[in-house]
């Protein structure tokens, strides 16, 4: 088992940039995104016997991260924290000054999307998954995925074009 832990660990290390990016597309705050990545990675290692050799490790990890993100959102809501602390703008992940403007504006726009649409956009547009792969990761039927994706896209396009007109609020 030790060898297997090392083996899967190195694969996860190689996947970290994608996992962090996926987390970042869900949570605008970089610190929260890295916490989410850590939670997902630790869960994956604890439950690594559930991973089947021959299946896609990246998809498995994205699915775990999706669950961890939703759990976190719900437990924050239960604890009565500000429902969406990242909406407060107090700790923006990125600002126009320290990174490119496109990441900032797309992050802002994605942050306004409902959870289910944000997940669909993160899988397909950010991570470039096929619909089938995204539906598997999100554990929803393809038809549900495509309708969330379509709604998410319209909302995102609208938010981005508003922002283009009015500047960041």
């Amino acid at each position: 088992m030790t060898a297997r832990l090392e083996e899967i660990g190195e694969h996860i290390v190689a996947l970290l940039p994608r996992l962090r990016r996926f987390a970042r597309s869900l949570s605008r705050n970089q610190h929260d995104a890295d916490d989410l990545t850590q939670v997902a990675v630790e869960r994956a290692l604890r439950h690594r016997q559930q991973f089947r050799a021959g299946s896609n490790l990246a998809s498995w990890l994205f699915g775990i991260m999706k669950n961890a993100w939703l759990d976190d959102r719900r437990s924050r809501a239960r604890r009565g924290e500000v429902a969406l602390p990242e909406d407060s703008g107090e700790h923006p992940a990125v600002t126009p000054a320290d990174t490119d403007a496109s990441l900032w504006s797309v992050s802002e726009a994605m942050n306004k999307l409902p959870e289910d649409q944000r997940l669909a956009i993160a899988c397909v547009l950010v991570e470039g998954m096929s619909y089938k792969e995204a539906a598997e990761v999100l554990e929803i039927p393809i038809g549900t995925l495509t309708s969330r994706l379509a709604r998410g896209r319209s909302a995102l396009a609208a938010a981005l074009s508003d922002e283009g007109k009015g500047g960041p609020s």
Binding site: L15, T37, S55, N56, S59, D100, L103, Y131, L149
Partner: protein, 251 residues
């Protein structure tokens, strides 16, 4: 013919079958409004992918590397609610189990290559593709290879591999390509002086250095089949087309 937004979105995402693709491709030629709706979907896709692409370039924080290697260390996240929630046990069913066709080798490669794709293609320093207007166009090394490289004389070591060149039904010349380092294949069509890229796809991982690619990935192949007029150009015709600047035929 009316197409709903979800259909056009799926078209832009390369998710439709060959028949539907061909049908919409043909319809777009006669309907600028339709073409524009598809272009908007593609542009949004390129914008979102581009915005997050550079993040892959960031080094991973130590604490995450430690976590991935299973090292125990006091984590910054212990106060987080997420950590105490039990991993939902879903029996043997997890997202990946239905994808049995995929081999370990493919995964090992996608772990590395998949992570590299976006930044390789979209990082400003060496961008090979960029959004221009409403479409994706070739830039940098990809644009020069499409302009100059001949399939018959290219070297094993070239980073861009050119596959088929052919005349599309609209008269434009298209060439399939593969970016080896990025594990990405696609199609470029010379339209108004630029190589527009109607499709890209991840390439299946190959073992060792078995080269060259036998054929483009299915997603690219479908677009080729939808567009090609007649046979692919032979080496002489390819060279002639290059010397003529990949000019579209009058049709």
């Amino acid at each position: 013919m009316k197409y709903d937004d979800e259909t056009l979105m799926a078209f832009a995402d390369g998710e439709l079958d060959e028949l539907q693709r061909a049908e919409i491709t043909a319809a777009m030629e006669n309907d600028p409004g339709l073409a524009q709706r598809v272009a908007r979907h593609r542009a949004l896709r390129a914008q979102v992918a581009g915005a997050f692409g550079n993040l892959l370039d960031e080094p991973s924080p130590e604490r995450l590397v430690h976590a991935a290697r299973g090292a125990r260390q006091p984590a910054a996240n212990t106060r987080r609610g997420g950590d105490v929630v039990q991993f939902p046990v879903r029996g043997s069913r997890h997202p990946a189990t239905s994808w049995r066709g995929r081999e370990w080798g493919a995964i090992a490669a996608s772990l590395v290559l998949g992570g590299l794709i976006s930044w390789k293609l979209l990082a400003p320093s060496e961008a090979m593709m960029a959004a221009s207007g409403n479409s994706l166009v070739a830039r940098g090394a990809l644009a020069s290879a499409l302009d100059r490289q001949l399939a018959s004389t290219q070297l094993e070591s070239d980073s861009v591999w050119i596959g088929l060149s052919f005349q599309a039904r609209d008269g434009h010349i298209c060439r399939s390509f593969e970016l080896r380092d990025a594990g990405t294949a696609g199609l470029g069509c010379k339209v108004d002086g630029e190589w527009k890229i109607p499709v890209t796809s991840e390439t299946p991982a190959r073992s060792g250095d078995v080269r060259p690619a036998a054929s483009p990935p299915a997603a690219v192949l479908r677009v080729i089949e939808a567009r090609i007029s007649g046979d692919p150009l032979d080496p002489a015709a390819e060279e002639k087309a290059r010397d003529a600047g990949w000019k579209a035929a009058r049709r």
